[in-house]
Structures are given as C-alpha cells and as structure tokens.
C-alpha cells in the first residue's frame, strides 16, 4: 500500500534546495563526538523499548498530564491555593480560634461560611481541572502505528509509547513524541512538517533523515533494526538538538533537522518512520509549556487595597474595644458581683486586666470580622465565570467561517476589558486576512489589472461620502459602510473631486487568490500585446520560480498547491489562469502546461531545475536556474522592490508602478531574469557546489555570497501586486474603537509603505493628518559612532516633533507617528524611551513597522508602564505571543495562523471586528458590574459589621454579639450573596445596541468613574451612615419600655432579630436601588433574599429550642405580632436609603452621567419619537476622535466649511516628513 503511494513522491529535494537541506557529504574525516557528562546522558535503544521499562534507562512514559492536581494532591494543593489569600488566612485563623473559649461565636458559625466559600472555590478548581484531565485523556488515547515485533506494526495509544519505539506516522497525523526521523515515503528521507502548534508558523518545514537510515523504509526492515542513540537530556529548546546514533557499528551525528517534534504535524508526506527519543513530559513541546503569567485586573488590585484598609479598621476598632475591655475589667468589673469577679478566669480577670485585654483583642478581631466580606472572592469568581460564559456564548461574536466563538480564557480580566486605553495590534492576520489575491501586475512597464484594491475602494467611497458634505443619516442598525448609495451632484463634489475609482462593479473573486481582471492579458489576449515576449517570460517566472508542490485535486480536476507562503499560491493560481499551469514536479524538473490561447490544447513542457536558491530574509529574493528543452539556461528571480534597481529596461515605469501599488495597499514583488551561457553557469555551479559541501560555520555565508554573485545584472521583467485582504469589518471596528476613545497602535513586521497603506485603508491615517516619520541615518561609519550618531539624530527628531505637536493650536489637528524597527531599537533605550512615549501618546495614531516580536513586547511594556493605563494587545501569530503576554490584556485571534497566540492569550476572538463588541459591550458591562458589586460588598459589610461594634460599647466591650450565631452565619453566604451575584452578572446600564451606538460611553471605564477613591469612600461613608442609622434607630425604638401591647420588654433576641431584619431590608433595597435592569432573575434573588430571611426566622423559631435558644418562636410569638417590629423595619429601611436616593436623584437631575441621559432618552422613547435629538446626541458621543472613518468625515467637513466660509483656498495640510537624508 505504502509502496504504491510513493511513486508520485520520488523527489530528492536535497539536490534542489540550496540552504535548508544542505548536508555536508564529507563526513568521514570527522568523528561524531561522543557525549559524556551532565546534560548529555540520555541513551536510547532503538526498537528495544523493553529496555526502557526498568532502571537505569527508564524514562517517563508518553502519558501527559496538564492538570494542576491529581486525586491525592488535590486537597492539600487546592487548600494551599485558597489560603494564599490573606483574607482567607484570617478567616481560617478565626475558625481555628472559634474552637477556643476566646471566640465570641460558636465554632460552626465561623467554620461553616469558610468551608462553604473555600469549598465553592475548590469545586471550581476541581471542575476546571477535570476538563483539563478529559482533554489530556483525549490526547493520550490517540492512536498511532507502532512496531510490535517481527516487522509487524499495529496501532497503539499514545500514552503507551515508550522511548525506543519505532513509530510510523501517516500524513496529517500529529507526532506522538519527539521522534528521530529514520525514513520517509520520499526517497531521500525528507518530510514536511507543520509546526503550527509549536511556533504558529503555517509554512511547512523540511526535515530529513540521515542517509544511513534511508534503507529502513518498509515495515519489514524493522524486524532486526537496532541502534543506540546518545543525546542531550530533555530541554525546552525547540531548535537545538545534540546527539549521535550508533548504527551498524558506526557513529553518526544527529542534528535538529532529524528531529520531529511532538504536536507538529506531518504534511505532504505519505508516511514517516521514526524512533521515539523523548516521550511525554520529556518532549520539547511539553518542556516548553510554561504557564502564561497570571494577570490581575486593576480593580482587583485596588480591591486588595480596600481589604487592607478594612483590615486596618478592623484592627483599630479591635484595639479600641480591647483597651475598653481591659479598662472596664480592671476598674469596674470588681464591682459587678453578678459576674463573680472573684472567680475570674484569665479571659475576665480584673487582677490581670492586661492579659484579659490581650485575649479580648483576639475575640474582637474575630467578632468584627464581618467587616471583611468573606464571600467577596468567591462571589467575584462566580460572577466572572458567569460573565465569561456570556462572552463565550455571544452569538454576535461567533464566526461562521472558522466556527470559532469568542472565548474568555482567563475570566479574571473581564472588567479590565472595560478600561482599555490603548490597543496594540498586529497587522497581518489581525487587521488583514493573510489571504493573498493576485490583483495587478506591471509587465514591461505597462500596468495591467483593472480592479481596485479594497483600500482604493474604501478611499473612493469615503471620498464620495465626504464629498456630499454630510455624514450619512444613521439609524439604529444602519452602517455607513454597507451603504453603497452613490450621491451625485452635491455642491461640494467638484471641490474635492480628486480621483475616481471604479467601484461600481463589486468584484467577487471566483477563484480564491485571483482577482485579476484585464482583457489585455486574459484569455490568451496577451499574445497580441506588443511586448508579448516579455509577458511570456513574466508568466514563466510566475510558474517556475517557487518551491511549491502541486496536489491533484480530485474534485475539480485541477491542482491545489502546497507552498510555503500564500503569495506563492497566488502566483501559481495566477499563472494557471494565464495559461501556464504548473502541474508536476519531479526530482529535477518542473512540468508546466502552457496554453497560448483558449482554443489551443495545452503543451506540456519540462524544464530542468538546475539550482534553487530559496528565499531568505537577508537576500529577500529567490531564484531558480532552469534549463529549457533547447538547452538554454535561465535564471528566474523574484524578490523585493530592491530588485528593480538591478534591472535596466522599464526601470522607471516599474518603479512608478511599484509605488502606486504600494499606495493602494498591495504587496509587491519584482520579477527579473537573466540568460546564462553554459560555461558561465558551469563555473558558477562548481563554486556553488563547493560552497554547499563546505563544512563549518561559514558555509551559509559562503553559499549566500555565491548565490548573490549569480543574482546580479538581472533584467527586469515586471512586478506583481498582491492584495493582502483587510479582514471583514476592520475599518468600522477601528472607527468605533476610536469613537470609544481607545488609542490604536499598529505594530507590524511589514515595511513602512505597506503599513502606511493599511493605515489609510482602515482609517488610522487620513489625508491632512500630519505624519511624523522617525528614521535612522544609513551610513557606514564605525559601529560605535554610528550608534551614537543615530541616537543623537533620533533624539533631535523626537524633540522637533514634540515641539511641533506642542505648538499645534488647532484642536482638530491630528498627528500620526510612523517609526521603523531599527529606529525603535534606539527609541526604546532607557534614556530615550520616555521622550518617545510622550511624543507617541500625543499622536492620534502610531505605526511601528519592521518590528521584531521582542520589540512588540517592549513597546507594549513601554506603553503599559509609561502611561500606567490599561493596554490590550491583539495578534494572531507566534510573533505576537510576547506582546500578548506583556499587555494587561492579551487577545488572540483564532484564525489561520495556528493556536500559539490564542494559547498565550486571555481572550480569543476569531475576527478583529469582534473586538468592538468585546470591549464596548462586554468590557463596559463587566467593568461596571464588578465595580458596583465590589463597592456594594464593602458597603454591606461595613453597614453590618459596625453595628456589632456599637453594640459592644453597650456591653462593656465584653465581646457579646447582639445577633444570633445563625444570623451571622447566614448573612454573608446566604442572605446577601445571591443579589450581589445577580448584580455582578446581569446588570446592564444600557442595552448592547446602545453601547455600540454610543461608543463614547466606554470612556467611563478608562476614566474609572465607578471605582475611583471618591466613589469607594462614598460607599464606605454610606455604609457607616447606614450602620449608625440601623443601630441607633433600633435602640431608640426598642429601649427599656414595653415593645408590644402585652407589656413585654425587648430582650437581646428581640433587639438582635429586629436589627438584623432591618439590615436585610436595607441592604437589599440598596442593591435594588443600584440596579437599573430588572429581569425576573433580579426580582427573584433580591426579594427572594428578604423572603428567605423571614422563612428562615419561621423555621428557626420552629426548630428545637436547644438549637434556637432565645430565638425560639421569636417571629411567631414575640416580634411578629408586635407592630413595633414592622414599624421599625419600615423606618430603618427608608432612613438608611434616603441619602443614597437623594444622591442619585440629585446627580441624575443636575449632574447626569452619560448613561443616565441615554437611559432617559430610551425611557421616554425619544429615540423613536425625536429622531433629530437622538442623532444629535449620538453625534455628540463621538466628537473627540481624531482617527477612524468618522473623524475623517468630520475633518473633511471642517475643511470644506473653512474653504466655503472664508472663500480662501487654504493650502492643503502639508505632510511633514522629518526624514534626514
């Protein structure tokens, strides 16, 4: 079976590839070094896994576990996690002490809430861990074909694979462990590997086996196969491997090139054989698996501060009451005969009052513990899980194409989403699709391709709508961008009519990757062009100069191409459409079917590939040397724009076209060729072969230099322009985010021109914006001097630019900062970065081009630490991981480029445009919910906790609580916890569509209006007031007189129960006043909590009197029939909430916040009745933006108005280019 599959694959790539597959053929004189000593101790007996079952060669099995706990360690470990929180430690201590007589409460009332809270958190941990376990199980039970014995292979679960096993991996399977490649279905033992899960790169990598093991290409050959591998110990370095193999009494050294890493995938290769070297947790990918740094939101950090503050208050009042207690015990208690002071224990001993006071301090610390909300953490956790569920389940953030929905991977950053100040975005794959469309080309100085790029269309549309002078009418669901209406004849049109693009026929690419349309070239018409020869050459270059492999597609009878980059695929598709179909690649030849006109039959031509100089980032070009049927030798080359300078003919035209294409947001490559004569080639090839077979570190440099020699004096043919499509909805999303006041920085590896084009395309840049370019001088001075000069130069540029920004008087003027990676290295140095940051934050948009992944992370850190504001990094590739982990919030795009970014991220979405909803809707809600919730939590616990303190003052600070133990127990965990969770999970100030219509509402988060110290202190004072009101009103009403018609006086149980009832009412009415959104859930839990209290009282009163003690039948007999009880409840509830009510009424009437106004508009249905007002308010909600489409329209309108009013032609704003030449 395998044999048959191999026919097609008989290719020896090593003869073709010049760099990646180069293998020095001369090995004999060099003995592979044998490794000894620490770090290189691993010995693997190939095909003898049984040897690895026992010591000393027993290695870990291939079973992997990513769970945090197992059954045995769960309890201790999870408990440890829980008690790392200082509040929990306090409650634990309190619970332990409650077993001693020091405690004012019964042990159960201290232990039960703690157990509940900790138990709930642990249950959550357990559930999460269970999910991880199930995931591991799925991975562990995958099956792969393994050599059993006697050349028989059979399927075995991954977890059972041991070191030394010979494994046969088939196409599109994952490697189960780190394998040594022995042989593959290709004759020369190469195979293609996709390492998407490791580093996020989608392009295929070539691995190749040792020559000596090539013969092991059949099941049977493993019957007697043995070898010993000595190699390095497990380590996390993905790109290194040191070791050797002792095979057939000969040592051969091994390289990373022979290692197939676990979790990468076999592609384009029917099968490979390999020996497991590292299994399970020893494999490099598992060694690499580090937990992303856990992030905490600002609100939570602030919450900790509040908790510390409350602890201070707690200690303070405890000290006060223990001093009070000591004084009273010393001076008064001796007179209180009814306490038997003569028989005092150490807890109450007048003779040792100081000691008693000390004991009392502990009592007081426990007693006033209700100031610290025990259930705060667990409630927040529950709320955040619910919020995360809502984010995950939002159908409007579900992408039909990829089938991915948004995912909150770490739920503890939900509220941070509502406070984002700066978004740092990757470009490729994030703003753009990384899907290439062949759109235009320039051949022999003539530009072909009539269709416009998206950038051009967007620009044209905007130009049109700007021309009309008014923003389009906006209604609820309206979107300017979908509006294709074309308005002519407005008076302003002629004023700004600059350029018109064909946008009438919306193009739908019928072929993926090909959006070219031009009758001059299509359907064989190119032959009629005057430069047909050059065009022919152009197409040949497209069809030949690549490293792709054709895969016959059974469905369409055509070919699909497997290539290393999407550009190549676009070229091949284009070549096919032009009639040059690349159909077959053999060891040394490429077959193309050429078809000069649609009517003709295609001719299959074979071109011999002599050399292939593949692309590398230094040369930025790739070439093939081919010999055609008549023996002519050509060098075909495609490469960066720089190539164009090497050409002679058509140079100026092509350069012009390249610039034009660049402006239209297209990726460009220049194509060139040269003809070689045989002798010239032979001479070069000899040298090249020599270079290839050189041993030593300078081999690569040598090969490169010789390649460079060949790639000179090329003749320019033309250039291609490929469109990197913008993702759906990106400009709209950026517009909304800008309106929401979020700054957007683009960090891209692309070159400046491309980045600027994309910047224009998504409205980050607009005409009339002052662009500041920061760049470095290119000179060849000594390295030391060059650095210094460059830095000085840069700091001068920054100073100049800053001055210019400072001096700008026009409030509407916007600046854009564009900087490249090289300059950024200097700008990020310590002495420069603050100036740079100051300049950058004053600019409306910032574009960093040509930045490395590390620089992305550095820039992110600079913004995060320099501004102190919340940063969000969004990206999709492995190169964004650093940035994602560095930022306060990392968002990964779960798209095409692998899962690396997603794995490192805190949130994942499948399209950039979902960021809008994630931030403006969910972020806004979550921020407000959590902020309100925490404030309320502190309020309710202060209100409750302080009443205990006041009562203490009336009991001689003896540590007696007026409330029954059970009341206290229920307060935090039952009676007040669910309403606050509904607040945290379901509160909405405005509905989601209003959030989106008023993006500026989002600014409440970055401005932190709901969790600043004023508000927190305000809530604390509210709690203080409430506690005073509750206590003294109750005491006033239930003083010594009879409290009911029957003449009974109030005892402690009556006072405590009445007071507690008041508290329940007060805090629940308070939360109802906070809420602005009542679904049945809120009603159920808020009023349900109050009802629960009464139900509890009835049940508690009815239970055995040994449980309820003095509260026995308290409601039914004592307080229920007493009007005083109900009257007290009513007045206390009102009195406690009136100040808050007055505050919010006052605020709403005289100093309304934005959401108040919007709520009112909605409430009065003014949005329906008074469209104009609704529109006016909506326009107000976006005045300050400087970037984005809307700002662009505004700027245009201002510009026009200015011109019309003054009747003076203002000079168009200059583009300031601060480039030093």
């Amino acid at each position: 079976m395998a044999r048959q599959g191999r026919r097609r694959d008989r290719l020896q790539w090593s003869k073709l590839y010049s760099f990646a597959c180069v293998r020095p053929t001369v090995l004999d004189d060099e003995q592979p070094s044998s490794f000894v000593g620490p770090g290189y101790s691993r010995i693997v007996h190939c095909n003898q896994p049984q040897l690895h079952r026992k010591k000393p060669l027993k290695y870990t099995s291939n079973y992997i576990t990513t769970t945090k706990y197992n059954i045995i360690t769960f309890l201790p470990k999870a408990l440890f996690e829980q008690f790392r929180r200082v509040a929990n430690v306090y409650f634990l201590l309190a619970a332990v002490l409650s077993l001693t007589p020091v405690s004012p409460f019964t042990p159960v009332s201290m232990i039960a809430p703690l157990a509940f809270v900790v138990g709930l958190s642990m249950a959550k941990e357990a559930l999460e861990d269970w999910r991880r376990f199930m995931q591991d199980l799925k991975v562990n039970s995958r099956e792969v074909s393994v050599h059993r014995a006697e050349g028989q292979f059979s399927y075995k679960q991954w977890q059972n694979i041991r070191v030394g096993d010979v494994v046969k991996v088939e196409k599109d399977q994952f490697f189960p462990a780190d394998l040594l490649l022995l042989s593959s279905s290709y004759e020369d033992g190469i195979c293609y590997v996709e390492t998407m899960n490791l580093d996020g790169e989608t392009n295929l990598k070539v691995k190749r086996s040792l020559e000596v093991t090539l013969a092991l290409d059949d099941d049977q050959t493993f019957r007697d196969f043995t070898a010993i591998i000595r190699c390095e110990d497990p380590n996390p370095s993905l790109y290194t491997f040191v070791g050797n193999i002792d095979f057939e009494q000969q040592l051969h050294s091994l390289e990373p090139n022979q290692i197939l890493l676990r979790d990468s995938k076999l592609r384009n290769t029917t099968y490979v054989y390999g020996v497991a070297i590292f299994t399970g947790h020893d494999s490099k990918v598992m060694q690499n698996a580090t937990k992303s740094p856990s992030k905490r939101s600002r609100i939570e950090k602030k919450m900790d501060q509040i908790i510390y503050f409350l602890f201070t208050v707690l200690v303070l009042i405890s000290v006060i009451s223990s001093i009070g207690f000591a004084v009273i015990t010393k001076y008064k208690m001796p007179d209180w005969w009814y306490l038997r002071p003569d028989k005092g224990t150490s807890l109450y001993d007048p003779k040792r009052a100081a000691l008693s006071g000390l004991f009392h301090l502990i009592t007081a610390l426990i007693l006033y513990g209700y100031l610290i909300p025990i259930s705060l953490y667990v409630s927040i956790e529950v709320v955040k899980v619910l919020q995360a569920t809502f984010i995950n389940g939002d159908v409007l953030m579900y992408d039909e194409d990829t089938g991915n929905h948004a995912q909150a991977r770490t739920s503890n950053l939900n509220e941070e989403l509502g406070q984002v100040d700066t978004v740092l975005s990757d470009k490729t794959g994030t703003l753009t699709c990384n899907q290439m469309n062949f759109l235009k080309c320039s051949i022999a100085g003539v530009s072909y391709g009539v269709l416009s790029s998206e950038v051009e269309i967007a620009a044209a549309k905007q130009m049109e709508s700007e021309a009309t002078g008014t923003p389009r009418p906006q209604s609820g669901t309206h979107d300017i961008w979908r509006d294709d209406a074309y308005i002519h004849g407005s008076p302003a049109t002629d004023l700004i009519h600059e350029k018109k693009f064909t946008i009438d026929n919306p193009r739908k690419p019928p072929i993926k990757g090909f959006s070219f349309e031009d009758e001059r070239l299509m359907h064989g018409n190119w032959a009629k062009e005057p430069t047909a020869d050059t065009i022919l050459l152009f197409f040949r270059i497209l069809a030949l100069c690549h490293t792709a492999i054709p895969e016959p597609n059974e469905e369409t009878d055509g070919f699909t191409y497997e290539a290393e980059s999407p550009d190549e695929v676009a070229f091949l598709v284009a070549a096919r459409e032009f009639g040059f179909e690349f159909c077959k690649r053999t060891q040394s030849s490429v077959f193309i079917r050429e078809k000069y006109s649609p009517s003709e039959d295609s001719i299959e031509r074979e071109l011999k590939i002599l050399n292939l100089l593949e692309f590398n980032s230094k040369r930025k070009r790739m070439s093939v040397i081919v010999r055609d049927e008549i023996g002519k030798i050509f060098l075909f080359c495609k490469g960066a724009d720089r190539l164009a300078k090497n050409g002679r003919l058509y140079e100026s035209e092509t350069s012009k076209h390249l610039t034009e294409y660049g402006e239209a947001g297209l990726r460009t490559l220049a194509l060139a060729y040269k003809v070689l004569d045989q002798s010239e080639y032979s001479a070069w090839n000899a040298e090249f072969l020599k270079a290839k077979t050189t041993i030593g570190s300078d081999r690569e440099a040598l090969v490169e230099r010789i390649s460079d020699l060949m790639e000179r004096d090329l003749i320019l043919v033309g250039a291609t322009a490929v469109e990197d499509k913008l993702q759906k909805g990106v400009p709209q999303c950026i517009d909304k985010l800008a309106q929401a006041g979020i700054k957007i920085w683009v960090l891209t590896g692309d070159k400046i021109e491309t980045a600027v084009n994309i910047g224009f395309a998504c409205s980050l840049l607009r005409q009339g914006m002052k662009q500041i370019y920061l760049s470095t001088v290119n000179n060849d001075m000594l390295v030391q001097d060059a650095n210094k000069a460059a830095k000085e130069n840069l700091s001068m540029q920054i100073a100049n630019a800053s001055r210019m920004v400072m001096l700008e008087k026009d409030p509407y003027e916007a600046f854009a900062l564009i900087i490249d990676g090289k300059t950024l290295t200097y700008a990020l140095e310590d002495d420069m970065k603050n100036n740079f940051l100051n300049l950058a934050v004053n600019c409306a948009s910032v574009l960093c081009c040509r930045v490395s992944p590390r620089q992305k992370a550095l820039v992110t850190r600079l913004v995060k630490e320099g501004t102190g504001k919340v940063t969000l990094a969004i990206g999709d590739g492995a190169n964004d991981v650093g940035m994602i982990q560095e930022a306060d919030i990392g968002v990964g795009i779960s798209g095409v480029e692998g899962m690396q970014a997603v794995m490192a991220s805190d949130f994942s979405i499948s399209q950039f445009r979902f960021l809008e909803r994630l931030l403006v809707v969910h972020g806004h809600w979550c921020y407000k919910r959590i902020a309100l919730m925490i404030c309320y939590f502190f309020y309710k616990n202060i209100a409750f906790g302080l009443t205990i303190f006041y009562f203490e003052a009336y009991t001689g600070f003896s540590g007696q609580s007026v409330y029954d133990n059970w009341y206290m127990l229920l307060f935090n965990v039952v009676l007040t916890s669910l309403p606050v969770i509904t607040l945290g999970a379901f509160e909405q100030d405005v509905s989601s569509d209003v959030c989106l219509q008023f993006p500026a509402l989002y600014q409440q988060g970055p401005k932190n209006l709901f969790f600043d110290w004023y508000r927190i202190i305000g809530w604390m004072f509210n709690g203080l007031y409430t506690s005073i009101a509750i206590y003294f009103l109750n005491i006033g009403m239930l003083y010594h007189q009879a409290f009911r018609a029957g003449g009974q006086t109030a005892d402690m149980a009556v006072v405590g129960t009445t007071m507690f009832t008041c508290i329940i009412w007060v805090v629940n009415v308070q939360i109802a006043l906070i809420m602005s959104h009542f679904t049945w859930i809120q009603h159920l839990f808020v009023w349900g909590s109050v009802a629960t209290w009464y139900l509890f009282l009835v049940a508690y009163g009815a239970s055995s009197q040994t449980i309820s003690e003095n509260s026995y039948q308290i409601l039914s007999e004592a307080i229920g029939p007493a009007p005083m009880f109900w009257i007290a409840t009513v007045i206390v509830t009102c009195a406690c909430n009136i100040p808050y009510l007055v505050h919010i009424s006052f605020q709403r009437m005289f100093n309304p916040l934005d959401h108040h106004v919007i709520q009112e508009i909605k409430y009065y249905k003014k949005d329906v009745e008074d469209q104009r007002m609704w529109k006016r308010e909506k326009n107000k909600a976006r005045q300050k933006t400087k970037i984005g489409f809307t700002a662009r329209v505004d700027a245009k309108i201002r510009h026009l108005r200015g011109r019309l009013n003054k009747r003076v032609l203002s000079t168009s704003p200059k583009t300031v280019q601060e480039q030093i030449i």
Partner: protein
C-alpha cells in the same frame, strides 16, 4: 462550549462540518443577555412621587405613634436611694449584704392620670450588664428543659456546682443573680393584687423550662447571689426566673414583675412595700419601680413617633425641593461626552 480552543487545536481528525455546528453558541435570550427587563429610572416625577409618598405614609404613622405614646400612663419611681441606710458606697453595700437587717421600705406613689387595667409592673435596673458575654454565656438550656439533664452544667462557669460538688440547678450566673426585690401594693387599706402569672413568654414556659424540673442546690453556695427558688415549684412556673433568664440587650432594662388587673384613678395614692434585697449598690446601679399601661405600640416612647415625623417631614421637604428645582430649572437631555 468551553473547550473549543483546545478541541480545535487537538482534534485534527474530526470532520469539520458537524463541529462547526456544535460550536455555535446556542441562542437564548438568557445567554445573549436580552431577557425582558424593566428598567426603572429615577425621573424627576418618580423622585418627587417617592418622597411625597414616604412623607404621606410616615407622618400619620408618626402622629399615631406619638398619640399612642402619650396615651400611656407611666409611673416611674427610683427607690434605690431612699430605701437604703448609709452614705458611702461601702456602707450601703454593707447594709444590703447584711442578712439580718430589715430591708423593708415603704414608698407612696400618686397616680397622675387614670390608668386602665392591665397595669404592668416592671422593675428597672440601670448599669447592670446582663449583656456581658461572661454573663450571657453562663447558662445551660438543656438543664432547664430536661429533668434528665439536671447534672449537665456545662457552660455554667463559675456557678456550676456547690462547693461540695453537687450540680446546681438552674446553674450559671444568670440564674444565680436572680432579682429578688419584692413589691406589694395597696391603696389605702385595700391590697392591690399583683398577678405574677403570664408575665413571661408562653413558649418559654411551655418549651424551655421543664414542668418536671425542680430547683436543686440553688443558692446553696457560700456567696448568695440573688433570689432563692422554691424547690417544690417546677421551673416552668417560676416566672420571675423565666423573665430574668431572658437577658436584656442594654445595661438599662426593665423586666416585668406582674400585672395589676384593676383600674387606678387619678390622684389615688398607692403605697408600695418594697423588700429592698437586691444589691445594685456595689456598681451604683439605680433601681426603679415602674407602673405602666400599654398601647398598641407598647410602653411610653416618644422616639418612634418623633423619628417617623422627622423622616416624613424630611421627605416632604425633599419632595418640595426637587419639585421646585425641577419646575424652575428643568434639565434638558444633555450628553456630557
């Protein structure tokens, strides 16, 4: 739904189509946070209405509470100072602790207004910390209820057992310090009967104090606290004890002593013979005798009425203030952004 990222990354062999469908979040109004909701907002009209409403409700309640309080006739007589011999604290304490001196003290009270029966008799103690933790804890409820648990004196420190080790019933400081002043009333020559039955909570008598539990070893210690109990009467009928065992919340408290079930007319003079046994002189606590009628709201307390009137008045004021401001300077919808 929660594991999609993981499954996408690992599930290579899955068929894509069905996975996509199952991946799609299910639409429900709950998960999309679109549940029908009422969104009340505080419009000026609402604010004014709410405050007016509170005022309208609170003022009548306040008036009614004040009226009820005024209707109650209360005689409060402080007798601890007059019923004692000695000037200094030590003399007073010595006097009260001397078992041999006569503690009888006769006082007269004048009825200020007609008092309709039932007239409740209370004793009021001041500066007496019945709410002290040591005191509150010092009891054993099981012992009081169940005759089988007579020996269960846990928690009763320091009044658990007599010096010879036999358990005290009822044990603990509360019972030990039982109030023991007695009052007898007469108008002219006619005795006023004080009904001491039914002054405690019924549930206490029925369920918390056993009808087959009899006091034992009570007040047998070297130091006698308060009243002694008749060992032939079960605890459930010892209502003074039952009342005393309900610890008061504040250091100043009244406890019912009995009921006078006959009307008293204005200016009638009541003679009270007080047996002034109870020692409050050590801690300078006042003792008061209180005779009070009751209203639907209980005893005399103007606080409730005043509080209601204050809040009600405040709400009226707020309602007016908001109304005036609203009429004078209404706010148009204005976004601040």
């Amino acid at each position: 739904m929660n594991n999609s990222a993981a499954s996408t990354s690992s599930g290579s062999g899955d068929v894509p189509a069905p996975r996509r469908n199952s991946n799609r979040p299910k639409y429900s109004r709950f998960t999309q946070q679109e549940l029908p909701a009422c969104k009340p907002i505080l419009t000026p009209r609402w604010v004014i209405t709410v405050f007016t409403l509170i005022g309208v409700i609170f003022v009548p309640i306040g008036v009614a509470a004040l009226m009820a309080s005024n209707k109650v006739v209360e005689i409060v007589y402080r007798y601890d100072a007059v019923c004692i011999h000695g000037n200094t604290k030590d003399e007073k304490v010595a006097y009260i602790q001397n078992a041999n001196t006569s503690k009888t003290c006769i006082i007269t009270l004048t009825v200020p207004k007609d008092m309709d029966q039932p007239i409740y008799v209370y004793y009021q103690l001041d500066n007496f910390y019945q709410n002290h933790r040591r005191y509150v804890k010092s009891r054993n409820d099981a012992q009081l209820k169940d005759s089988d648990k007579a020996n269960d004196t846990s928690g009763c420190d320091p009044e658990k057992t007599t010096p010879d080790g036999s358990p005290i019933l009822p044990c603990g400081l509360i019972a030990w310090s039982l109030f023991n002043d007695t009052y007898s009333f007469s108008i002219g020559n006619q005795n006023l009967t004080v009904n001491k039955v039914g002054i405690s909570w019924k549930s206490d008598r029925d369920h918390k104090f056993g009808d087959n539990v009899f006091p034992r070893n009570f007040q047998n210690g070297t130091l006698k606290g308060g009243a002694s109990l008749n060992e032939s009467i079960p605890l459930s009928q010892q209502e003074d004890l039952i009342v005393w065992m309900r610890t008061a919340a504040l250091p100043t408290f009244r406890k019912p002593y009995g009921k006078i079930e006959q009307n008293l007319r204005v200016n009638e003079t009541i003679t009270v013979i007080i047996q002034n046994y109870y020692n409050t002189y050590s801690f300078s606590g006042k003792k008061k005798l209180v005779l009070s009628t009751s209203s639907w709201l209980g005893g005399k307390n103007d606080f409730t009425g005043i509080a209601y009137l204050t809040i009600g008045g405040l709400c009226f004021f707020l309602a007016t203030a908001f109304a005036v401001v609203y009429l004078v300077k209404p706010r148009y919808v204005l976004l601040q952004i």
